[in-house]
């Protein structure tokens, strides 16, 4: 499930400055140790929302890694803190970690300008390379969505209206996983031109200008999902 075939992550000058917010101390320490080993500067490790705000104010990190579930109620404190943080410090990237995947959290997070945000299953932190890469992508203003979220949501919402064909949906899913046009055509045994034609059609249907960069492709997937998301399943208030 590790995103493969991603375009190379942008590398900024100097090391990435990260705040870790997770209530599980041993996991926090393990992540911090692994990240430091990869040259990421973990400037603060906090266990709750208040600590997160304080650390953000003090260190002005590039990216905050935040567990959705935090004390005191262990519901969506982390998500709310992330939204606050993005409002107060628009330049800060936010990478949410969640023990399970919820589309409504994703949309809450991506509401407005979906730049510099990410939403990953917590398990992903164990895949050190991909996790570090996701951090860099978020820092660069990109949008990282756990491939499993997309796969699950596409699977969960078959397009009964025929808005997109089955083939187009299949290609959309692979795009969301981060596959390039070439990789998609390899996977589906299609000619690259056919794949490109499908992708163009998908973008037209979604009223999006055609683009090939990963960020825009994720946008396309989200636009599709948002369109198909039934009313009442919006972001939490």
């Amino acid at each position: 499930m590790t995103p493969t075939d991603l375009p190379p992550a942008p590398t900024g000058g100097g090391s990435l400055r990260v705040v870790l917010a997770d209530d599980s101390a041993f996991l926090r320490e393990a992540i911090a140790g692994a990240l430091r080993g990869e040259g990421v500067d973990v400037v603060a490790e906090v266990g709750d929302v208040a600590g997160l705000h304080a650390a953000a104010a003090e260190h002005a990190p590039d990216v905050a890694v935040i567990d959705i579930r935090m004390p005191p109620d262990f519901r969506t404190e982390g998500l709310r803190a992330a939204l606050d943080l993005r409002r107060e410090r628009p330049g800060t990237g936010v990478l949410m970690l969640s023990a399970h995947l919820e589309t409504r959290y994703l949309f809450a997070l991506l509401d407005g300008e979906p730049r510099g945000v990410g939403y990953l299953l917590k398990d992903r932190v164990a895949g050190i390379d991909a996790f570090v890469e996701a951090l860099h992508r978020v820092h660069a203003g990109g949008c990282v969505v756990d491939p499993e979220v997309v796969a699950t949501m596409l699977a969960r919402r078959p397009d009964r209206t025929g808005f997109l064909s089955a083939r187009e949906l299949e290609i959309l899913g692979l795009m969301a996983e981060g596959l390039s046009n070439q990789a998609v055509s390899d996977r589906l045994h299609l000619a690259p031109r056919t794949v490109e034609a499908h992708i163009r059609h998908v973008f037209v249907r979604l009223d999006l200008p055609p683009a090939s960069d990963y960020h825009r492709r994720v946008q396309a997937v989200l636009a599709y999902l948002r369109r198909n998301d039934p009313p009442g399943n919006g972001p939490p208030k």
């Binding site: 209530d23 599980s24 041993f26 996991l27 393990a30 992540i31 140790g33 692994a34 080993g37 579930r69 262990f74 023990a99 399970h100 917590k122 398990d123 932190v125 164990a126 895949g127 050190i128």
Partner: protein, 593 residues
Amino acid sequence: MWAVALCGAALGGWTTLIAAGVPDADMFRVTVHTVAGALFLVSGIVAHHRRATNKVGPLMMGVGIGFFSEDLQLSPVAWVHTVGQLTLAASGPFLAHLVLAFPTGRLESRPQRALAAIAYLGAAGNGLLNALFVDMHARVPGNAPGLLLVTDSLVVEDVMRAGARAAAIVVSAGLIVVLARRWLNARALMRSLLAPAIAIMLGSGLLSVVGLVFHEDRELRATFVYVYDVLFAALPLAFLAGMVYFYLGRGAVDRLLRRLRDPKEAGEIEDLLARSLRDESLRVAFLTGADPAGRDDAPERAERYAEPGPFGTHREPGLVDRHGVPLDVAPSQVVTPIGGGGGVGAHGRAVLVHDPLLCEDPHVLETVAAAAGLALANRSLAAQLAEVRASRARIVEAADAERRRIERDLQDGAQQRLVTALLKVNLARRRLRHDDPAVPDVLASAAEGLTAALAEIRELAQGLHPALLAEAGLAVALEELAARLPLPVETDLDPLPKFAPNVESAAYFVVAEALTNALKHAEAGRVRVGVRYADGVLAVSVSDDGRGGADLAGGSGLQGLVDRVAALGGDLTLTSPASGGTTIRAVLPVDTH
């Protein structure tokens, strides 16, 4: 009975014509007499229609017919005149009988029967002597000759009149005594039935006395006679009013039954029945630990009434009112079991305590008691249903809370540890490439994390359902549970067979929760676990010497156990005085099949 009424009406028409045909007839009196007789007839038929089993209706008709036939002697036709002579005072005995038998229609005692006999025999003898020895034809011109006349004898007539007067005095005095006693012994219901008739009779009596005083004044006497006649005409209406008031019509019974159809509290039923059955002394009561068959046995009841209560009432042992307070019962009141298959209320078997007069209408009383039983049962079932619904909602809620807790335990515990361990394994893999000497430490740390994750999962699984319970049974699982507690636990367990899994689980979790409470909240020093099994009942109890003062509402854990035990038809009790010590006891019926 309608035939009798029609004959009576025909007779009334005829005698009115006869009376009106007499020279110098007083048309006002003739009219009032006819109206009086007719009212007795009509009232009689209405009363009979209301309750055919009650003799009051026929007796009233008897008064009317007798009253009409007295006027036959005014007829110029010989045989009619003779019949009139025989029935000279025919209305009297019927009236006496009516007054004695009202409102039940029965003569209740030997003196009452004797009085009625005297009245009937006196009237019959009087009529016979009158026909044999009084020749009105000779004395009053225009009268017909009597066909039975033996000889006209003033002596016999004097004797006859003296005898009639004596009989009248005896019967009147007897009536006064009977009525006075009946009034004095009566409860409110009987008095309200008697009141109209007694008022009219007292009025008539008073008028007679006043008439005697002013017998010189002719005009005044004539007026008194008119008033007397009018009062007499009103008498049947007074009797009829009592009958109609007491015996509910079909419509009233239907209305009452309709209102009893909905679930009702004992208090509402009491008010409704007291009002509808006109007995304000009526109470809904409960026989605690009483004969469940609810047999109505008068001598036994009389014995049960032995215990004296305040204000001339008696306190029946085991009889409580709807608030559970021992009920004071008047000695004259009777008890009718509430039927309908569901008369058992919170305090025991439901009964009606009421005026014995209501037994005069047994069909209505039984019907109403049965309907009241259904209303009570409905109410009690509705209350039980509400409790079952609440309990069911709590059980669902508890199950949800439990699922949330398990999800949290898994994700915040084991899952975090597994992620951490995976992270460390990946880290070790990377470092292995660089021959990092820290690799064994990283792997050791990962292994530690995995061990901790396993321990957490094991604990969680044990908490969900102790494997030992299914494998080795309740007794072993409880011993093990007690042994693991960091407290001295004394166990006293009966040998136990294998029970149904839900029973074993309930018993186990009661003990587990009680032990947890003893450990966490009660700061107990010692705990005792007892399990008894006898007669298809499994009883588990946990007692500690801790703080006490616990209540079922306080901890949701205990409430959940109450529901769990109740769902199995059992009962959980908590004894936890503020002075210290807590005992939790669950009794579970065990299906031995």
